[in-house]
């Protein structure tokens, strides 16, 4: 197992380093409901579990690098209200698709329900720039819901940047927990 993880870790690290050098496409890709292209963990997971129909998530270790796309963070229902993002990314992770579809169905079935998409960034970088980055994350989730047919009048977005962290430490895992969009129902909570 150990010998298995080391090259995997190297792949993840390479992905992270590539993300650090921040290309225009990376920051400006607006997320869609298509498969994410820049996720660092997606090339790694098939190595761990070749072609699973329903992956056994318990065996995939949660790391700061795959946290945003880790199945254990998303239960596929509206109980999950936090969507995580990779470093410097505003691409909705594939593992969150089912959860977001559940929210979309709920919103369509309950026209009086209103959700506020609260975007957040980790603490690295300048504060107002992070507000702008976190708005892009909220917009990515908004776009996903809209593509699913949710009325725009039911969705509001707000960008908090790094001002309201969920985790107060300064590790890679703390940062992974802070790069997120929170679905905050302001009316008609499921």
């Amino acid at each position: 197992m150990r010998s298995f993880i080391n090259p995997l870790f190297a792949v993840l690290l390479a992905g992270l380093l590539a993300a650090c050098s921040s290309t225009p496409t990376e920051e400006d890709t607006s997320a869609t409901d298509t498969q994410p292209t820049d996720s660092q963990s997606s090339p790694a997971e098939p190595v761990e579990r070749p072609a699973p129909s329903k992956p056994d998530t318990s065996s995939i270790p949660v790391t700061a690098d795959n946290f945003h796309n880790h199945p254990s963070n998303y239960d596929g229902t509206t109980d999950t209200k936090v969507i995580y993002f990779a470093f410097d990314s505003n691409t909705v992770p594939a593992a969150a698709f089912e959860t977001l579809r559940a929210h979309a169905s709920y919103l369509k079935d309950n026209p009086n329900a209103k959700v506020r998409l609260e975007g957040h960034a980790d603490e690295r970088g300048t504060r107002e720039y992070n507000v702008a980055l976190s708005e892009r994350r909220s917009e990515a989730v908004q776009k996903f819901l809209r593509v699913q047919g949710v009325s725009s009048s039911q969705v509001e977005i707000v960008a908090y940047g790094e001002e309201k962290p969920a985790a107060f430490g300064h590790s890679e895992m703390d940062w992974a927990k802070n790069r997120r969009v929170v679905l905050n129902y302001t009316a008609g909570r499921p």
């Binding site: 290309t23 920051e27 970088g125 507000v131 980055l133 001002e163």
Partner: protein, 429 residues
């Protein structure tokens, strides 16, 4: 030369705003210039009953500037308090270049007479002699005014000891964890302007120092930009558009605010006329444009933009809205500010995953990293251009630090309680 000064404005500002002093700042110098000028500030006579130790404050001010090496009173051979009692020789043998002497006298009804003189030890000559007559409550202001005078006399640059620092604190667990506060430039006399359950961001001074602008999420968790009069504590909302309302920056003439709005679909720079509310869009790009700062000429802005990929610094001509890139080193440059003389551009630069304050010389084109800390942000330049104050992390907590433009002087301002961030150095008050 004799001068008598009063401080009506500062008194008004302080008494009306005094709410509570929570996060107290302590200031210590960590690195000074090796060629700092030796100066002795002798304890003033008659200081025993006064509520403020004026000579201690002056000595600390001069020391903290990094330009001076102050002598501890216990190392002085004599402690003169008048011209007649001053022996230049006692200071010459200790290699002192200047000596400051003075005295306080209570004049009844809570007032004081503060006299001081600055002497050149080598030439055996008096350079300044002044008297102030402040009420007791303004002794600290007089001390900073004395420091300003001495600093200007000896360096040719106006002192910035009588200025204020505006900043945001975050005290996790408190009922209202976010606070907007300001303090003297030496960290004393902390005043709280606003407390909130929701974030407060991007405080900015009006050029005359009477008002501030900031972003507050206090209403329903949504961002609005407020203009707040410091002496009256009156405030008004000036921007509450859909999306981001951020990064206010006052124009040099005080008539406009540059700000970031995303109401048009993505963050762009706008100029808001504070007199008539007219809003003018200055940038229009699908990338992120934010963190505008006026240049001293009032005709240009610098700002952060992702239009070339990662964040870089751009300069905007307000008249024709032309934009040109000004930062080229590295993949992350953001939150620019220009020194009052327009010569240096100060901003956050990322190198090897570390965020530091960089200074770009716009005349010579050079670029230098001036901080060795990590996670540095929000640099703000003193009105005399001497120092940059910025936010950073120390042992996992947000603290303020200051560094000289040339990187040779470093000052630490650890907070006793909570996180401190986003410092904004006031103009001359």
């Amino acid at each position: 030369m004799m001068r008598v000064l009063a401080f009506p404005f500062i008194v008004a500002m302080l008494s009306l705003l005094a709410v509570n002093a929570r996060a107290e700042l302590l200031i210590q110098i960590t690195e000074g210039r090796t060629d700092a000028v030796p100066i002795s500030v002798v304890p003033f006579a008659g200081a025993g009953d006064a509520p403020e130790n004026v000579s201690d404050i002056v000595r600390a001010d001069l020391h903290r500037s990094g330009q001076f090496k102050t002598l501890s009173p216990k190392d002085m051979l004599s402690r003169p308090t008048s011209k007649e009692g001053l022996s230049y020789r006692d200071f010459r043998v200790l290699n002192q270049e200047y000596v400051v002497i003075g005295k306080l006298k209570a004049t009844g009804t809570g007032s004081y007479e503060v006299s001081y003189a600055l002497h050149d030890v080598a030439r055996g000559k008096e350079l300044i002699s002044e008297t102030y007559r402040p009420p007791e409550s303004q002794l600290r202001d007089v001390a900073h005014a004395i420091s300003d005078r001495i600093y200007e006399q000896l360096t040719g640059i106006p002192g910035a000891f009588s200025t204020k620092i505006l900043y945001v604190t975050h005290n996790r667990g408190a009922e209202r964890p976010y606070q907007l506060q300001y303090a003297d430039a030496d960290g004393a006399r902390v005043k709280t302007i606003l407390r909130s359950r929701e974030p407060i961001m991007s405080p900015s001074w009006s050029p005359d120092g009477t008002k501030i602008a900031y972003v507050s999420f206090e209403k329903n968790g949504l961002p609005k930009i407020y203009v707040h009069n410091l002496s009256s504590a009156e405030r008004r909302v000036v921007a509450q558009f859909k999306g981001i309302n951020g990064a206010p920056s006052w124009s040099p003439d005080g008539q406009k605010l540059a700000l970031t709005l995303s109401k048009g679909g993505n963050p762009d720079i706008y100029s808001l006329d504070l007199n008539n509310g007219d809003l003018e869009q200055l940038t229009d790009h699908y990338g992120i444009d934010t963190e505008p700062r006026w240049m001293p000429d009032g005709d240009h802005l610098v700002f952060t933009s992702s239009r070339s990929g990662g964040p870089q610094i751009y300069q905007l001509n307000v008249d024709d809205k032309s934009v040109r890139r000004v930062s080229f080193e590295g993949a992350y440059n953001a939150r620019p500010e220009v020194t009052p003389d327009g010569r240096y551009l100060v901003y956050v630069h990322r190198r090897n995953g570390s965020f530091n304050v960089g200074v770009q010389d716009l005349q010579r084109g050079t670029f230098d990293i001036v901080t060795q800390t990590n996670m540095d942000e929000s640099p703000s330049v003193a009105p005399n251009g001497s120092m940059i104050i910025y936010g950073t992390q120390h042992r996992g907590t947000g603290v303020l630090q200051a560094v000289s433009i040339d990187g040779r002087v470093k000052v630490e301002l650890p907070s006793k309680e909570g996180e401190v961030r986003e410092p904004a150095w006031s103009p001359f008050l």
